[in-house]
């Protein structure tokens, strides 16, 4: 029997949740009040006026819509590529035999310890020499490549529990390695792949350093956000709108797909439990 949760836990969690939500309320309120009214704080009630002025202006003053599409585009490609390549790599490392398997795996996983900042300069030189600066490939390649470290690790760990007999049944049924991967492994690894997908989506969407350095004309939202807040104007309202537009998608993605985190492995082979 599951005991009732003690009251004080409910209170503590509730208070923490409220504290966490306050900044969000703050930017929403700031975005709909004239900047002059909130210079002393968005919670001030001395002069209550609402306006959607900022929500109208920001699109004209900054290329917010473009940045939104750029971000979406880069994030979708980066996430899709990771969701496809990671399980393929994890499958190969876990179930296939090829020379230097362990060595390659260790090298890839070790990229974990390498912070992005370390590769920024060499990558910049590489992209400059190959003419990829201001090309979205300049960020997509490191997005996918750098995420391999943790994503392969995560999916490969998931596959430790993947029933070997399913792979063997696939072999008996006439699957080669690719067909086994596509028809047997992939459909039964969805929870792990989605978990990787969500993390990668959030990481790509919020990524600032790489696009700031490698992209010039097509910039994603976080970079634009720094430009909006980098001015000396009194533009708290515009910043708030840009911030909301930047965070709204990851928020929804997380809310919609959070169940995937909790979903258990669905790879029971059908043996009687």
């Amino acid at each position: 029997m599951i005991g009732r949760v003690p009251n004080w836990i409910v209170w503590v969690v509730g208070i923490i949740a409220c504290i966490w939500v306050i900044p969000i309320i703050g930017i929403v309120v700031t975005s709909v009040r004239p900047p002059a009214d909130v210079t002393l704080g968005w919670w001030r009630l001395d002069n209550i006026r609402f306006t959607l002025d900022a929500w109208m202006r920001v699109w004209d003053e900054y290329p917010l819509a473009n940045a939104f599409w750029t971000t979406l585009w880069i994030t979708l490609i980066g996430t899709g590529a990771t969701m496809l390549l990671t399980p393929a790599a994890a499958y190969a490392f876990h179930f296939l035999k090829f020379p230097f398997r362990r060595t390659i795996l260790v090298i890839i996983i070790n990229a974990f310890v390498l912070p992005v900042q370390v590769v920024v300069i060499p990558l910049f030189q590489l992209w400059r020499d190959t003419g990829l600066i201001d090309n979205i490939l300049a960020v997509l390649i490191p997005y996918v490549g750098l995420s391999f470290a943790w994503s392969i690790f995560l999916v490969k760990n998931f596959m430790e529990d993947f029933p070997k007999e399913l792979i063997e049944a696939g072999k008996i049924d006439g699957c080669g390695p690719l067909a086994t991967f596509w028809f047997v492994v992939l459909p039964n690894s969805l929870s792990a792949i989605f978990a990787v997908g969500i993390l990668q989506f959030l990481w790509c969407w919020n990524s600032l350093l790489l696009p700031m350095l490698y992209l010039r004309t097509t910039i994603p939202l976080p970079v634009l956000l720094t430009r909006v807040s980098g001015t000396y104007d009194l533009n708290w309202d515009l910043r708030s709108v840009a911030a909301i537009v930047t965070t709204i998608v990851p928020l929804f993605v997380f809310l919609i797909f959070q169940r995937q985190f909790a979903a258990g492995s669905q790879t029971r082979t059908g043996a009687k439990e």
Binding site: E165, I172, G270
Partner: protein
């Protein structure tokens, strides 16, 4: 249909030799059962035939063709796994049809063949379900359906019934036997349940430590085991072994009497093997006193579990109802004609050799 031949086949994992220079011929259309204690290499051997495990040395020949390096599909084998290994994300229908889909058949052909397989196994009402929604016995049928739909040359079963409860195991055993009669394909079946082996097999292959101890028909192995291991392994309850010393007239039991048997060496310690049903209750030339500890009543037959005065545990099968109780001492006769003599090393001594 096909014959399967293993020529000097060995398998090692690193330095660990699991299958040791094994020769075997599986005839076309026969039902062959591999039995042996846990870890003797039955599964390994089956998986080598299936193409799931590389063969270290020797040749595997199916239908006259050496297939050591061939994929399972090229070998024309289908396999039923112990834990079914059904694809959890596919319906029963898709599970059964999957190999046909991989072979590139038309959807309509696949459906037709799946329907026939489902009918054979009486699982038509289950076709739209997922494996998680099936009982153990139903899953097993689906697993068999997945094998028969391909119409393979050789069926391989690795302990397919061991996850089922006792009753279901018996009925599935009968169904597998029927299936074999109906399809007439070559079937190789691994089990460590010797009842399954006796009831299903045309030919039993008894294995131990990666070697074949003896192979032959169930009756052959039962009536005429080549060694102590096979004698003890085949038959349930198992054969009784009584210690004895050889004399010029025959083996003299430590428990008392001497069996008059000619044509044996006249010296050495041996074991006399007697099956539980071959004891003669209350009589015979050479009889041994057995103190009964437990009487197991199965209705038609009873088994008396007890010990001789020299301490050997024995089981005696009794058909009528003689009113023997635990604690009684009975005298059971040993018929020399139906006794088998084994050296302590396990080798069988036959009269006149």
């Amino acid at each position: 249909m096909a014959t399967v031949t293993l020529n000097n086949v060995s398998k090692s994992y690193g330095t660990l030799e699991v299958i040791d220079n094994l020769n075997l011929q599986v005839e076309d259309g026969t039902f062959t059962v591999f039995v042996g204690p846990s870890g003797c290499g039955k599964s390994t051997l089956l998986r080598m035939i299936a193409g799931l495990e590389p063969i270290t040395k020797g040749d595997l020949v199916i239908d006259g063709r050496r297939v050591n390096e061939a994929d399972p599909i090229e070998r024309g084998v289908a396999m039923v796994f112990q834990n079914y290994a059904l694809y959890p994300h596919m319906t029963v229908e898709q599970n059964i049809g999957f190999s046909l889909r991989m072979a590139g058949l038309e959807k309509s052909d696949i459906d037709a063949r799946v329907a026939i397989a489902a009918q054979t196994l009486q699982i038509e009402p289950l076709l739209k379900r997922k494996p998680a929604q099936l009982s153990g016995g139903q899953r097993q049928r689906v697993a068999i359906g997945r094998a028969i739909v391909r119409d393979p040359e050789v069926f391989l079963f690795d302990e397919p019934l061991s996850n089922l409860d006792a009753e279901l195991r018996v009925s599935m055993r009968v169904e597998i036997a029927k299936l074999h009669n109906k399809l007439g394909s070559t079937m190789i079946y691994v089990t460590h349940d010797q009842t399954e082996a006796m009831t299903l097999a045309d030919k039993i292959v008894v294995m131990r430590d990666g070697k074949i101890e003896q192979s032959g028909s169930p009756d052959d192995l039962y009536d005429n085991p080549d060694n102590l291991f096979v004698a003890g392994f085949i038959g349930s309850p198992r054969m009784n072994f009584l210690r004895a010393d050889l004399t010029a007239t025959g083996p003299r039991l430590v428990a008392g009497p001497t069996l008059s048997m000619a044509g044996l060496p006249s010296q050495g310690e041996v074991l006399v093997g007697v099956r539980p049903e071959h004891f003669l209750l209350g009589g015979g030339d050479a009889s041994v006193a057995v103190k009964v500890d437990v009487v197991e009543n199965l209705g038609g037959t009873r088994y008396l579990y007890g010990a001789t005065i020299s301490g050997e545990n024995v089981v005696v099968e009794v058909r009528d109802r003689p009113g023997i109780k635990a604690g009684d001492t009975v005298h059971v006769g040993i018929d020399p004609v139906r006794s088998m003599i084994f050296r302590a090393t396990g080798e069988r001594l036959r009269q006149g050799h």
